[in-house]
Amino acid sequence: MSAPMRNILLFALVLGLIVATGFYRSPNVALGILNMGLISAIMAAGLNIQWGYAGLFNVGIMGFVALGGLATVLVSMPPVPEAWGAGGPRVALALSVGAAVIALAVFLWNRLPAGPPRAVATAAVLLGGFFLYRAIFDPAVLAIEKVNPSSTGYLGGLDLPVIVAWPIGGMAAAGAAWLIGKTALGLRSDYLAIATLGIAEIIIAVLKNEEWLSRGVKNVNGIPRPVPYEIDLQRSPEFIEWASILGLDPVTASSLFVKLGYTVLFVAVLLTVIWLSERALNSPWGRMMRAIRDNEMAASAMGKNVSARHLQVFILGSAICGLAGAMMTSLDGLLAPTGYQPLRFTFLIWVMVIVGGSGNNFGAVLGGFLIWYLWVEVEPLGLLLVDILTAGLADGNWLKEHLRQSAAHMRLLTMGLIMLLMLRFSPRGLIPER
């Protein structure tokens, strides 16, 4: 079988699995899997640019995804004028003081001659600056968080259409990636890994802790949508008529309509991302990236600026992850910092890219859909398996009860096994790099 034929078959197979879910569960569940599958595919495409094109080991995807989510809140939620009046300018001042202190420290570090005086001066500037920053910052935060804490207690956003948040989420992630890349990319791959892992945890800690910015663990809900609300559809006579023609009741029809609306938007974004990535991969730039990945020394001897290219590709991949994160938050309509778990948002994306085929955009996309489908479906399948295996045991038997309760954790085990088997027997993935 020719390679393109095989790939089309693989995609058809995965889409067939999702369609089948529509029949044996419900169309709503299937569309839910499809929508998150689309987002996962975009995240996997972002990681593929970093790992597949350039061999950068990024395990901080969760952080970039969360930054995208934060951007959605900051762009699309209505502002809280009382909170702005209470401490907005002061927070802005504190943040600029903080930035100025860091800039001064960097300036001193770069300009002073190396030696103990330099270290002492830089440390003194940082420490003094920190106390100054906190002196300005703390009262402002207290004032903001005091404004109507049960419903707001934060500054709110800019009240712009939520679609605007998607590119901005990408840019926020790109900015963070630039900062990380500047410090960590020169180091060896293990260090980049631990640096990105750390940054991701820090970003989540900021989201949880800085209530004036993100409401912290109180979550932001009711984030505006790019598609209509079910309740409005159900009230519209035109929609009810349209639903009855299709033979659906208005409630089901409205929920399907909303999900399909998201699907259309997400497909458009995914196609754009893939088109651009493919164009980049097949351009001289893409060939240069692969040359650098395969032999850094030779590429740099040919006059390629390896560290600048690494920084570039790190920023691009992270921006795509930020974009996907913003899309996910607007799909959920909720920013819940406690929901960001590294196994789900960093390492699962890795499984997607490894299984799908690193270095191949279509492979990453396929992996995104397939692994997301399995992530959702392994749990009920695991429960089914447990029920079959323990059919001989009486209800209430401790082993049966324990296994039934633990079936939910089968998914981690399964993902690990899939990844290990793939790495062993088909290390180039389902759709290998050309």
Binding site: F130, D190, A193, A195, G198, I202, N209, W350, M419
Partner: protein, 339 residues
Amino acid sequence: MSVMDLLNALTAFANFVLIPATAYGAQLALGALGVTLVYGVLRFSNVAHGDTMAFGTMVTILLTWALQESGVTLGSLPTALLALPAGIVVTAALVLGTDRLVYRFYRARRVRPVVFVIVSVGVMFVMNGLVRFIIGPGDQRFADGERFIVSAREFRDWSGLREGLALKTSQAITVVTAILVVVLLFWFLKRTRMGKSMRAYSDNEDLALLSGIDPNRVVAVTWIILAALATVAGVLYGLDKSFKPFTYFQLLLPIFASAIVGGLGSPPGAIAGGFLIAFSEVTVTYAWKKVLVYLLPDPLEPTALVQLLSTDYKFAVSFLILTAVLLIRPTGIFAGRAE
């Protein structure tokens, strides 16, 4: 400021910073020793380390419960110490099995280190799933015996100070065990034939093979030591705080920070790094008001908590130290083998 104030300040400092940070530092040091050993001998960063710790601790907890059920305890010491050796044996069997089924294949092909790291991500998923499958994702407590060697109240009654000083049994056991393990490990690495082979293999694989060192034995012994270090570190952490699979996964960050700060591949570096990270985390996230009210004259006494960063940011501390050390001295404090 009187002598009493100074003593109170010192007691508060010891109670809230010195003792907890020492115990935590010993736990991190043991974890970092495992990471650094695998890096030195097997040449990759083992992402599954946190979950290996969780697995070893889980086995020990299950055995501890079984012992407690049958009425076997260690009196004032925690029963977990009795179950620990068996926990190590089971964990060693698991990591040796993993090596046989997973890592050996890639070692034979001499793949790049980053492939090993990715493979260890898969192993991490499996171990994480296994632990959650067997014991569940929730919090487990398994400490028994005397909770305190010295309780805060006893200390206050004895000394007449306003501040209390508590020394938990788990903290004392942590430090004593850590010292024993480290002494044993260094003796093994420096004095025994096997330890010398391991160091030779770590320094130069080809040369070691030429001198007739059996690589399979070196690798197997490394995994067994790793299982022991991970299980001991995990059980001590669990006794001191509590056991929760996700917390152990998250320990990966401070443990790696410790190993890298100390210099990957250098055992003394791992110990130094562990204490450096632990002390920084605790000092930066401790509310210093309690100590400062005794030290400063009344008009200067702080009204706020004087907490540099909220405890949620403890990861940020590991990370900032890591960045600072890497920028100033990229090979770590004790120049590791990472170039």
